[in-house]
């Protein structure tokens, strides 16, 4: 029982948090230099799942990628430390009666909200990189249809409309597309066709997939005569909703933490003014 208690105490310690955070800083700074030295080793992470990247690039270039593995291990330890520490602190806070203002008591939970949201964000990243589907470069010609891999959803490129810039202010951009409207028709088996509009920074969601615009043609008023096409990124990302939910909760905790810090500062200033 004693070793377990010692382990519980060790993983709940604030000193461990600081050492882990500083170790992460060192590893990430090394990672920056190594990434700069060989960026092509890391770019496949944009299309491969984590395990596929580890077996194809990670292990074979370990002299460059060691920091990535150290980073993952340190993050794992930080998650463990965060969970144990948060558990201990929240339990202590719940046992303690609210002294003074009720608002101050509630705001004291804000760092713990952030800590839990941080764990949720990391876990959702892991889910994305382990279980997701990431299909880059799905080229669809205008008027043609493809089937989304791994499903029976049919996707047809129905139209490409662009708003071309004309004027003198953005002289370098004259005649080039400022906005685009890529019209897709999606059909599930036995379902009715659904028309959706796609653009840069404006993906569409359908049947559990997200579809993003990677590239398209034509993008300028005067272009070479070629068949119009859209190059799509098709993703099934089981972690992304949890990721953004975690981000939102973290942001709420962060703002509550700021509120708490400002209140504490004002209270201290008031005490100093009227001791």
């Amino acid at each position: 029982m004693r070793p377990l208690r010692a382990l519980w105490g060790f993983f709940g310690s604030a000193l461990l948090s600081i050492w882990l955070l500083l170790a992460l800083v060192v590893v990430l700074c090394c990672g920056y230099c190594l990434f700069e030295a060989q960026p092509l080793v890391y770019q496949p992470l944009n299309r491969l799942l984590l395990w596929d990247w580890i077996t194809s690039y990670g292990w074979t270039t370990l002299h460059n990628t060691w920091w990535f593995f150290a980073f993952i291990i340190l993050l794992g330890l930080l998650v463990l430390n965060t969970l144990v520490c948060t558990w201990q602190k929240v339990a202590a806070l719940l046992r303690r009666e609210a002294r003074g203002s009720r608002l101050d008591y509630v705001l004291r939970f804000s760092p713990h909200v952030m800590h839990l949201a941080f764990v949720v964000i990391l876990a959702s990243h892991l889910v994305t990189y382990v279980f997701g589907l990431n299909l880059q470069n799905n080229v669809v010609l205008l008027g043609r249809e493809i089937t989304i891999p791994g499903s029976e959803i049919r996707l047809k490129l129905a139209g490409i409309k662009s708003q071309f810039y004309q004027g003198t202010r953005l002289a370098f951009y004259n005649g080039r597309a400022l906005t685009q409207d890529i019209s897709l028709v999606l059909t599930e088996p036995g379902g009715r066709p659904v028309r959706k509009s796609l653009a840069y920074n404006s993906p569409i969601w359908f049947g559990g997939y997200s579809i993003h615009l990677k590239n398209y043609y034509p993008k300028a008023k005067r272009s070479m005569r070629r068949r119009p096409y859209a190059n799509l990124i098709i993703r099934r990302d089981p972690g992304v909703k949890t990721f953004f939910a975690g981000t939102l909760v973290f942001a709420v905790g962060l703002l509550a933490y700021l509120w708490q810090a400002l209140r504490q500062y004002r209270q201290r200033a008031a005490r100093e003014a009227h001791p």
Partner: protein
């Protein structure tokens, strides 16, 4: 090319010169004159940023942060002066001048605005990222001041909460900027994290560093003096891992060469 384009650089170079002059005056004998001149420098800096925005809106050019950073720092210096920290304001002006000169002499190559930056998320991200980093720089300056004035009790009392508070503000704004970056990245590139650029790792390093600072209050063995050293040590980290990647080789202004 729009004929107004060269004026973006000329205005920024003029702002950098004015910042240097303002810092020299403020550090010598004329702090008020220095601050007034810093106000003029800020106006010229903002004119340069406004013109650049006008010439790229609704898109955005990459590597703009070094030109926004002096403006954010000058605003914080003005705030410090207004809140009764005149010496800190002068130190911040000196730091602003250094950052402005670096941005003016070492600009990254000229890049055109890119279509995926056509979203409000990208513009808010830029402002939030710069504001967060400016708070971290200012916290470093406040920490250095705290360390150099530790014998003078009154000054110590006035600067003690300042670097901690600046880091709290910086951490909040910087974290929100990272969330905006992830949102933009997901909308534009289909993933909240894109492995195309090494600055992603250095940005995380900065976030973890200031996250560690915010946990220091839990250690009783870390008094204000040691925390001040920690805050001051953040400045070289910021310069090496967030400022230098956004700068390029030495380029003398055309009117000098």
């Amino acid at each position: 090319m729009n004929p107004l384009t060269p004026y973006v650089g000329v205005l920024f170079q003029a702002a950098a010169l004015l910042y240097v002059l303002a810092a020299v005056l403020a550090l010598l004998r004329w702090p008020r004159l220095g601050l007034s001149l810093a106000g003029l420098a800020l106006a010229v800096n903002l004119a340069s940023l406004g013109l650049k925005l006008y010439l790229s809106w609704p898109m955005q050019s990459p590597y703009q942060e070094p030109f926004w950073l002096p403006a954010a720092m000058a605003l914080i210096a003005g705030g410090a002066h207004g809140r009764g920290h005149p010496f800190l304001a002068r130190i911040l002006l000196a730091l602003t001048a250094v950052l402005a000169v670096i941005a003016a002499l070492f600009p990254m190559d000229f890049y055109l605005p890119f279509p995926r930056s056509h979203t409000m998320v990208a513009h808010i991200f830029l402002v939030a990222s710069v504001a967060g980093k400016a708070c971290f720089y200012a916290a470093g300056a406040a920490a250095v001041m705290f360390l150099s004035h530790e014998q003078e009790t009154q000054d110590q009392d006035r600067t003690r909460p300042l670097f901690g508070r600046l880091i709290v503000w910086g951490f909040v704004v910087f974290t929100l900027s990272l969330f905006l970056a992830e949102t933009w990245s997901y909308l534009g590139w289909a993933s909240p994290v894109i492995w195309n650029n090494a600055t992603m790792t250095s940005t995380m390093a900065v976030w973890f560093y200031y996250g560690a600072f915010l946990h220091l209050y839990l250690l009783r063995s870390w008094p204000a003096r040691r925390r001040a050293w920690f805050a001051a040590a953040g400045v070289p980290l910021l310069v090496v891992f967030t400022l230098l990647p956004e700068t390029g080789g030495l380029q003398w202004p055309e009117w000098l060469s």
